[in-house]
């Protein structure tokens, strides 16, 4: 029987395994070094914050794997020998495979900062990182201040985590506004304000100089590049992005760049070896996507697609419309389609922006300047319906249409205040239209479902 071995029990590897099991009777083994069972990395913050226990981050009960005949091995793969089709698992143990799926995820970036390997300097990626954080920053007595380096999604999560234990946080962001490489200025500005309102010492346009060592090889302070300001701290969080975790593949013959190079079928240069999830790098980016897509959803989608290929129905990884979500402290964010930042905007792209006068709510709609075709939406503090926007993107709707039927897309809990009226009036003023928002209709919402 064909033996499929998957390295990495993250969302990508596990999704592939589940779907292969549904489609076939092949022998499936997952080798992973971080934890015995699959857990949701995205939930690590909630464990530190006391919302959940670690076991709550595991989406499947422990019996699930055996019942579905998915064999789990907790080991680190140090080498892939594709000629003999075996893996080295350390201690001279070897594992033979017929088909290999590499789904080893990412690791936090380190840019060669002086002191980056001191104790008390860490990223937030793995369960071990979480455990380490619990040791370094159990409370604000032991950790009197933390400095976080890198203004992305994980950085802000780490800041929120530390604040939940009342640890003072300094947040160094290289850009002059939070995440403005992705978010349009208005939104980025709102998040800046929100971060400060949470008593986080946000330093915009500030870069890390070096990390200074104290006793016992522990970090005691950092300096800011340029002005040399020293900030004493007990924890330094490095959250300046992630890179594929593929060092063990160097010189294996598998083609790698930053990630494992794959074609649209997620095949590497070697027959019977595939790569999915954070560690896979497309030869050519798909549409507006990046060649390496390090998000949860794409890992899952690659797993879904690859399972077909491995089970004989060769199918390309062909993701639909882009979507994503995050939460910035108290503000939920969702995006559907493409809305680029003010700087990164395409030359055909125009934005309509609405922000509530007092609440932390705003939306940005991107559209084509000539045709006014709807290209995407960012929404903060207002939940929106994925299905509806996916459909409107497929139907290439005019922005006037989207505005008119915006109520269909609202996904906020029942009884919440609605803002479509305000949004539509601002739109009317800005574009000289005379749109009246249509009442929400179940018929429209479900018509193509």
């Amino acid at each position: 029987m064909e033996h499929i071995v998957i390295i990495g029990n993250g969302i990508a590897g596990v999704t592939a395994a589940r779907h292969i099991r549904k489609l076939s009777d092949k022998k499936i083994t997952i080798v992973s070094a971080e934890s015995d069972y699959f857990f949701s990395r995205t939930a690590l913050m909630y464990v530190y914050m006391g919302h959940m226990k670690f076991e709550h981050t595991q989406p499947y009960e422990n019996w699930f794997w055996e019942k579905n005949r998915i064999y789990l091995i907790n080991a680190y793969v140090s080498k892939v020998d594709h000629v003999n089709k075996t893996l080295n698992l350390g201690d001279n143990k070897k594992l033979a495979y017929d088909t290999l799926i590499i789904a080893t995820g990412s690791k936090p970036n380190k840019f060669g900062w002086p002191g980056q390997d001191l104790k008390g300097v860490q990223g937030l990626y793995s369960k071990q990182d979480l455990d380490e954080m619990e040791v370094i920053a159990p409370n604000n007595q032991v950790c009197k201040r933390a400095v976080i380096v890198g203004g992305g999604l994980i950085g802000i999560e780490m800041a929120e985590m530390l604040r939940s234990r009342n640890i003072p946080v300094t947040f160094l962001v290289r850009e002059d506004s939070f995440w403005n490489g992705v978010l349009p200025d208005g939104e980025s500005q709102m998040i800046n304000e929100h971060i400060k309102a949470h008593h986080i010492d946000l330093r915009l346009g500030a870069e890390l100089g070096e990390i200074l060592a104290g006793e016992n090889g522990r970090a005691r302070a950092i300096t800011i590049k340029g002005n040399g300001e020293e900030i004493a701290c007990d924890l330094v969080g490095l959250t300046a992005g992630v890179t594929p975790n593929i060092d063990f593949l160097k010189n294996s013959g598998i083609e790698i760049d930053r990630g494992v190079k794959v074609n649209r079928y997620l095949e590497t240069n070697i027959k019977d070896i595939y790569a999915i999830g954070d560690c896979a790098q497309q030869h050519e980016a798909i549409g507006n996507r990046r060649p390496i897509e390090a998000v949860w959803y794409t890992g899952r989608m690659m797993g879904e697609a690859l399972a077909q290929t491995v089970c004989g129905n060769r199918i390309a990884y062909n993701p639909g419309h882009w979507f994503n979500s995050a939460k910035f402290l108290d503000i939920e964010y969702q995006t559907y389609g493409w809305v680029f930042s003010t700087e990164g905007k395409k030359n055909y792209e125009r934005h309509f922006h609405w922000r509530h006068a007092t609440e932390n709510l705003c939306i940005t709609i991107a559209f084509h300047k000539d045709s006014k075709q709807f290209l995407g939406i960012n929404t903060f503090g207002i939940r929106m319906r994925h299905e509806i926007f996916d459909r409107w993107l497929t139907e290439e709707r005019h922005t006037d249409y989207v505005i008119e039927y915006l109520k269909d897309a609202n996904f906020d809990p029942e009884l919440y205040s609605k803002y479509e009226g305000k949004i539509v009036s601002k739109y009317n003023v800005e574009f000289g239209t005379n749109i009246y928002p249509k009442k929400k209709s179940w018929k429209r919402i479900f018509n193509s479902a």
Binding site: A43, S164, G320, D412
Partner: protein, 526 residues
């Protein structure tokens, strides 16, 4: 702020402490005249019992209920034993020893407690309410900006099954044991609320009145906590107000006022089979002898079960009752909210749940069929089984132990909906309708779930919400009470409770929205 909070805790604990020792202290002396009144009122046939009480109890000073209760029980047992021996069955008194002790005890209180009801009310309920509010209100500031407030739940002893949780467990269980099985020890508590009871129904308070009053008080105070904790969430605010309203007005005030107006005591929102004794013969007899209002209640009660349940559940899901109206649900959503994360999410627990809750439903229905058969055929037995015994078993095992002692007492350990999830026969019935014929569902927002598990962790009904959400599948489960917390805690805006068209409500998916449309078509079509 923290100082206010912790002084509030101290005040609360003092109030609670005094309340807790009340059952064990107090002076009792049964005056001759009081006893004579009781004898006249109750019309005991047993002169032996009256004589025993006259000799052993009347005029004597008892310190604490223990002694008095023992004497009363002894007298009652002796008298009954004598009558049985003499085959004077008409003289046997069927009131139980504990109830008799409660009855006589209530008329005997003499000391400080019985004479200073107002002061004692303040020292118990008053301090409890003030202390609790002082403890809760600073959260407006301490909790910071509006938003999800679950920080530290699994770090705190009280909400992570630590010793405080176990202490609360012991307290709650003991409280329910006293209430159901040793009401004579609740006599001192009844004094505290006599003035309130008298102003409502005109009668002095019994232990059930204490319970009702306390229930409303606890719910109100803990509702304040809910308002602060969920102040960013309108659904939670409105729902909390609704359960509070129904508890105070329908379960507490209206029945008491009806008694004052010589009408039957009736809670207009308590639906059979939760209201399991609705069809018991004593209730039917009382209703039928109460004229127009009795008849109205009879029709109303039947209509609730046969019409309101299916119609309302069809349009709104079982939440209209379980988390907007019901008193059990109301307590669970207020007092129980800090414990919601303890419901077991395993598949095993789900199996146990289905056996138990449907077992109770079958039990309730069988009992009621027997009851009605007995009522109309005027025979006490059905196929050789005594209806009365079946009723007694149900009242004890389900009505008292399951719904009360376990249902509420186990909050801090097994979560706040133990009864609603595993035991309530009405919930089982509402659940059937919700599962098979309803517009209600929790919609999953396409492919947005990140499998974080917040929803499952905070589902009080032990539903593994994530298992559905991460497959892009709507949640249609008979046990969901529509509390809306899963939707509130989801950090990605994945879940929405809504009433929509039945078609497409249940949507099993394998490939989630956002992936290749052809692949979705290929896999999801089958």
């Amino acid at each position: 702020m923290k100082t206010i909070k912790y002084s509030g805790l101290v005040v609360f604990l003092i109030g609670l402490g005094i309340f807790t020792i009340l059952p064990l202290i107090g002076a009792y002396r049964l005056d001759q005249s009081n006893f004579d009144d009781i004898v006249k009122d109750k019309d005991f046939n047993s002169e032996l019992f009256v004589e025993e009480i006259n000799n052993n109890v009347v005029g004597k000073e008892f310190n604490g209920m223990m002694g008095l209760s023992a004497e009363v029980k002894k007298s009652l047992n002796q008298a009954n034993a004598q009558h049985r021996e003499n085959k004077e069955y008409d003289k046997v008194i069927y009131t139980s020893g504990k109830d008799m002790a409660a009855l006589l005890g209530k008329a005997s209180g003499t000391g400080f407690i019985a004479q200073n009801k107002g002061v004692m009310w303040f020292l118990t309920f008053g301090l409890g309410i003030i202390g609790a509010l002082l403890f809760i209100l600073p959260n407006v500031i301490l909790l910071g900006k509006a938003g999800i407030k679950n920080d530290g739940i699994y770090h705190q002893n009280s909400t992570n099954r630590g010793w405080i949780a176990w202490a609360v467990f012991v307290f709650l269980v003991s409280f329910y044991l006293v209430l159901y099985f040793a009401p004579q020890f609740a006599v001192n508590w009844t004094y505290l609320v006599d003035p309130i009871s008298e102003s409502l129904s005109g009668n002095p308070a019994g232990h059930w009145f204490v319970y009702g009053f306390m229930y409303c008080t606890v719910m109100t105070v803990m509702a304040v906590r809910m308002y602060i904790k969920y102040r960013h969430n309108v659904y939670q605010m409105v729902r909390t107000t609704s359960v509070l309203f129904f508890q105070i007005v329908f379960a507490f005030l209206i029945p008491e006022i009806m008694v004052r107006l010589q009408m039957p005591y009736y809670d207009f929102k308590n639906i059979f089979p939760l209201d399991y004794d609705f069809f018991f013969s004593w209730n039917l007899n009382e209703l039928m002898s109460s004229g127009g209002i009795g008849l109205f209640i009879l029709v109303w009660g039947i209509a609730l079960t046969l019409v309101a349940v299916p119609v309302m559940v069809y349009f709104f899901g079982k939440r209209w009752y379980c988390s907007w109206v019901c008193g059990c649900g109301g307590l669970a959503e207020t007092l129980g909210d800090p414990y919601r994360q303890h419901s077991d999410k395993s598949l095993f627990a789900w199996k146990v749940e289905r056996w138990l809750i449907h077992g109770v439903l079958v039990f309730a229905v069988v009992m009621t069929v027997m009851t009605l058969y007995s009522f109309f055929s005027e025979s006490g037995t059905v196929m050789g089984i005594k209806t009365q015994s079946v009723q007694n078993v149900y009242s004890l095992a389900i009505g008292s132990i399951f719904a009360g002692v376990i249902g509420t007492g186990f909050y801090p350990i097994f979560g706040n909906r133990v009864w609603c999830r595993f035991g309530c026969p009405l919930a089982a019935y509402l659940g059937f309708v919700q599962r098979f014929k309803s517009r209600f569902r929790i919609t999953t927002n396409g492919g947005q779930c990140i499998s974080c598990g917040n929803c499952s962790t905070y589902c009080e009904q032990g539903i593994d919400v994530r298992a559905y959400a991460q497959k892009g599948e709507n949640i249609v489960r008979s046990s969901c009470v529509g509390c809306g917390i899963c939707s509130a805690v989801c950090p990605r805006g994945v879940l929405k409770l809504e009433n929509g068209p039945e078609e497409g409500r249940i949507n099993p998916t394998e490939i989630l929205l956002g992936n290749d449309v052809n692949l979705m078509d290929l896999v999801n079509r089958k």
